[in-house]
Symmetry: C2
Subunit: 415 residues, 2 copies
Amino acid sequence: MTAIEKQGAAAKAAALKLMTCGTGAKNRALLAIARALADNKEKIIAANGADMAKARESGMSAALMDRLALNDKRIDGIADSVRQVAALDDPIGQVDKMSTRPNGLIIGRRKVPLGVIAIIYESRPNVTVDAAVLCLKAGNAVILRGGKEAFNSNNALTDIMRAAIKEAGLPEDAVSLVQDTTRGSVDEVMALTGYIDVLIPRGGAGLIRHVVENSKVPVIETGVGNCHIYVESTADLNMGAEIIYNAKCSRPSVCNAAETLLVDRSIAAAFLPMAKKLLDQKNTQLRGCPETIEILGGGVLPATDEDYWTEFGDYILAVKVVSDLDEAIAHVNKYTTHHSEAIVTNDYAASQRFLDEVDAAAVYVNASTRFTDGGEFGLGAEIGISTQKMHARGPMGLEQLTSVKYIIYGSGQVR
Amino acid sequence: MTAIEKQGAAAKAAALKLMTCGTGAKNRALLAIARALADNKEKIIAANGADMAKARESGMSAALMDRLALNDKRIDGIADSVRQVAALDDPIGQVDKMSTRPNGLIIGRRKVPLGVIAIIYESRPNVTVDAAVLCLKAGNAVILRGGKEAFNSNNALTDIMRAAIKEAGLPEDAVSLVQDTTRGSVDEVMALTGYIDVLIPRGGAGLIRHVVENSKVPVIETGVGNCHIYVESTADLNMGAEIIYNAKCSRPSVCNAAETLLVDRSIAAAFLPMAKKLLDQKNTQLRGCPETIEILGGGVLPATDEDYWTEFGDYILAVKVVSDLDEAIAHVNKYTTHHSEAIVTNDYAASQRFLDEVDAAAVYVNASTRFTDGGEFGLGAEIGISTQKMHARGPMGLEQLTSVKYIIYGSGQVR
């Protein structure tokens, strides 16, 4: 057995215990984790300091360094979010569709944990705790495989969580961190079909594609968002400008930010200058179709087909003038990553057609795509945003970390 | 583009139309299919005759020949089941969890089709129609890849369905059959990530393993059932004997049949002869642990560890004497394929522990595992029995062939 196989077997054994340990025990473990994080700030900050020093040496950008950094206030924030997860309703054990069949069998569908969840992530060390406690609250064991840049931070956080879980009387192997941060360990995790029930990749498009295409373990695809805002001919133009400005510029690096603006031809000449005025506040680079350039003039670069496929993650926006709703929906359905799409309109039929025909996890009328988020949707917390159709679609909260089990009460029935 | 890629693209285009075509149009297509099957019996029976002739030449067993055969009565049965699917409630368009958020956004979760479903199957030609119409009712396009033994039958059935769908005004590419029945076409279907949303393999353990381990398209694992019946110390022994006899012998080739009998030591000497008396009616071969052999004598073969892992699919039963509930649950959770597991008991606490701790799609108290079936569970029809935890678990009916889409009604909200 390799080290990762042993870790898988230990997680599976822990998952069997978590399956039936009850909400009280899980909440006690979560609150113990919150306390332990607050009590061990120095240890966490020291480990994070080692990661930061390495990052500085390697010439990491200031923006990425900031994502990596942990300090007193950020650790308090992480501990707070753990307490919030403890306060959420536990989905496990809920039974629906229970009924008595004609033969007297009483059949119900009970929510149960998925089992062992593996998370492969590249991002900030807070994900280590956020992901672990959500999995734990839903009764799952979790195997974390974080990026090498944050390894010392992740390891310190995991050690603290494991000790707290043990102290609370649950198996510490409910949470573990893969100690090998080479590419090979990703491949090994993807092959652990005997131990891992679900694998969730969180990170850039390259990582996600690699995992989706190569994992033998079932995967939930997350995150890539090539989102569109379509300003239809009857739209309130001020609303349209505010929405595209918010969707593009409030946080361009996230997956629910807009990447392409589609504008109806009949309003393009009036609308595009209004939108540009707001987008210029952040020096947003526009890449437009010929009509866009004709209306807005020289500051706009010509858009290539490649631009329409791209999640820029930056202050860059592709723009296209379309002739009608049909062309807008066809464009969206061609280039979409099935994340979040919005129409701005005052036409009732257009709003309904957009909701019906656009194939995405979240489809908006007259609102910014930036709301696609577990907290904003009322799920309490999320472990990622699924862009696939199986199992979970859109923000994944506790419910999406569960499976079902049919329970059947009989009195000797045979078939 | 290869022929299969073209088929994928055509199915995807059809799926976009089915997504919004409405229940009435889908039901009209289903009823047209039922009529067309009845009207084209001669054509179907002629095509089936070609498959039967080839099967005879190749020396196929009588049992398999019977599974392949279509006749007047069987075609009527298939057409009837199509009408039953037409009569089921359409899950598409149902909206749940709709609420107004503090910022005024109205957010709901709407049931939508999965998109394009591919089914790879080895079994009887009726699967061609059953699977296609369930997918269609839930608004999905389907790509069928059946076994080469039934190719002429499958092709005739598919042609008739496509013509009926077209006649009813829906795109005929909603249903199509892969024309290449070599192993290579399975691999090609598994790689069609751009076109296929979900792949469901139906067949033997070898096919399912190959698909689960190699598909780039998301898979729902089905069917393999290494099911256990545990007769606990307080069980009604007559009930226990009837249940194991039914679970093993009523139809040994199916996935919800029992493969291993576990018996509590305290009742083994009384119970095993009672069970054997019934099992002997079908000349069931018993493979037992040493204690079983001691109790039942010479007719019982010694069980190997391999036997406890095996889905015999035949009148063969592994038997093991266990010391208590703990050992029984541990045995089940070690050897289970997570399909269906049953306890026979009169002890309340034992029944609850078995329901809680056994990790399977369907867990029974005092009933035969043979009830794990979409019809028996009240789903109306099923496309297979999922033994994985993601997306669907247990019998998969129409609801399990759907995904969700969040629909959001705003009034200019930005974040």
